[in-house]
């Protein structure tokens, strides 16, 4: 069995399932819950949660996110950690909530929110995971995961190379891990960017999918369902031979 710090077992974890994951990829939410529960953690899901407000803020309407941030603060006040299966939403709470709430009150959620992969890698630190995933998986290094949450070493920086997602996935038996050329180039989703600049967005997505497929991917996987959703739309339109799965779903595949 893996070793878990006793302190962690008495911590209360609030699960944040971002709006689009809730509606489109509930299985990602279920996998996150199962995995955290498997580690023996006390996980709760406050049902009045909605959205972090990033879609509006990135579109230029940060003021529309204020009441959502306030609600979020209230809902998650009682938890020691907040865990969300989405690097981008996590980064938004972590880095943008403090500014949005400035002048209202101190932001308390920003300091305790973790992306699910980040939380498992940095806090839970499992040494083993059950299950097999005998497939070739290309890791999608999402921009906010890489350049805001530092889930892997950004390709632009001269720092030691690492990848938390690859570390975690390699715990699963039978998996073959690969990465695309231009390893952390944006896939072109970008929230409202996808509809304001649809042609550039789709062009970026097509290039990205091509690079994943060229890396031999059976599956494209990562910490952000939003990027996967955008690429999935392109794959479906062009009937390309590649499947999508959130990294957490692979990690929970043996549960």
């Amino acid at each position: 069995m893996y070793y878990i710090c006793i302190k962690l077992l008495i911590m209360k974890i609030g699960l944040f399932i971002p709006c689009y994951v809730n509606a489109i990829y509930p299985d990602v939410g279920i996998a996150t819950y199962k995995l955290l529960d498997y580690f023996g953690l006390d996980v709760d899901y406050p049902v009045d949660q909605t959205c972090c407000g990033q879609p509006m803020a990135n579109a230029g309407f940060e003021n529309k996110a204020l009441s959502l941030a306030e609600n979020f603060e209230k809902l998650f006040a009682q938890y020691d950690y907040i865990v969300a299966p989405s690097a981008s939403c996590t980064a938004f709470v972590k880095y943008n909530f403090p500014a949005i709430l400035k002048g209202e009150h101190l932001c308390r959620t920003g300091g305790k929110i973790y992306d699910a992969c980040e939380f498992i890698h940095d806090i839970v630190k499992p040494e083993k995971l059950p299950g097999k995933f005998p497939h070739k998986v290309s890791v999608h290094n999402s921009c906010h995961g890489v350049r805001e949450l530092h889930l892997s070493s950004a390709s632009e920086l001269n720092i030691p190379r690492y990848s938390k997602i690859k570390n975690l996935l390699s715990l699963i038996e039978g998996i073959e891990i690969t990465e695309p050329a231009k390893v952390d180039e944006c896939c072109g989703f970008g929230g409202m960017f996808a509809i304001e600049e649809p042609v550039v967005s789709v062009c970026m997505g097509e290039d990205k999918v091509k690079n994943h497929i060229a890396a031999g991917a059976e599956y494209i996987s990562g910490a952000d369902s939003s990027c996967l959703m955008h690429m999935q739309g392109i794959v479906a339109r062009n009937k390309l031979p590649v499947k999508f799965i959130h990294a957490i779903q692979i990690l929970a595949s043996g549960l």
């Binding site: 399932i17 899901y45 001269n158 739309g233």
Partner: protein, 460 residues
Amino acid sequence: MSTKHAAAARQFILNREQEQWHNETLWMVRQKRDNMAMRIAEWEELRELAGKIKMHTISRLDHYLELFSSEAERNGATVHWAKDANEHNEIVYSILKEHRVKKLVKSKSMLTEECLLNPYLIEQGIEVVESDLGERILQLMGENPSHIVMPAIHRKREEVGKLFEEKMDSEKGNSDPTYLTRIARKYLRNEFLTADAAMTGANFGVAQTGEVVVCTNEGNADMGTSLCRLHIVSMGMEKLVPDLKSLGVFTRLLARSATGQPSTTYTSHYRRPGEGCEMHIVIVDNGRSEIRGNSEHVQTLKCIRCGACMNTCPVYRRSGGYSYTYFIPGPIGINLGMLKCPGKYSDNVSACSLCYSCNNVCPAKINLAEQIYGWRQGLDSIGKADRMKKLMSKGMKFLFSHPALYRNALKMSPAINLLPRFLVYSKLNAWGYGREMPRFAGESFTSMWIKGKVKKTNRK
């Protein structure tokens, strides 16, 4: 719905082959930059240091400007102060007029592009010859730069070959780069020999010594300044660095970031005019003082115009320099355009997926992406917000502020899957361009949680 950038980008991408070529060519430059950056152990410290030196200099700009100008004058140069583009152009013209200059040979300068100097001087009857090869090609084509370091990067060598056939009588169908460079060199040699004055920009001004540093790969700045008795330097006032020691930080970063070379072929230090020669330095404000007082955007003044943010920008690579309405494209151009005139250049703010790659390559560590995010927040107040986005944001806020309503919407959303295709994939649905819609799950996570369907793991 569409910004000017989005519309121009659509046009650019219509020629997918050209787009791919442009994308890959600039990516190659990004890779060359990476190779250089990874070979210097202290690269990240250098960037940190460069950013700090620039902020220090900008915060004490009055002191450093005075020091620079007094040292430059002590060296025998004449210093001029221009508050805006017009004043800059008038000063340059008055110097040229005084010296009865008929032909001016220029090395590359983005500041003179900013001031629209060339058309102004040509109107006054002065012959202006660009001597940087890329700039020369564009001048002959009647085009503007599409990139600040590689101005003609959007043109292929075959197009240059054709242009040279027409303008320089080169061999028909020969587009060999070495051959074309030789032809250009031969023609430019004559221009250098017959010019009356030379003009350069300035990559750096060293306050301690009053010298100007110009970095080129072609040696064209040196040809001009060595052959002419009159040298005019056009320098933005943010180009100052305190001393030669700090200059070393920037000369290590500039060429590596810009083109992936360890250094430019020529790094020329102009300290004093030669015997019987004159050197004039025009220091230009043109809005920079205002930026200095803008705490959210003051960091743009740290820019050393290396173009690394363009080479890495996934949007720039796929849309080309001309898709932006400001003369400087890419992440830094989006910001500088907004600082110049938000009402005029707000169309570029959409050209960013907030991937943050520009922040990571910037040798002066400018927070380019955060600034673009910041500009978006101000668009509504100047009446430039996209109506559709505003409507959607309002609707989302309403929905997400009412948890019960949100849960109801979650329940209803699977019905959208059943809508007929022509309704979903209309012209109004920009997502539908090139992408299928995601399918809503039969039951949301919240609903499953409430019904107790989200089960604990069976632990063995």
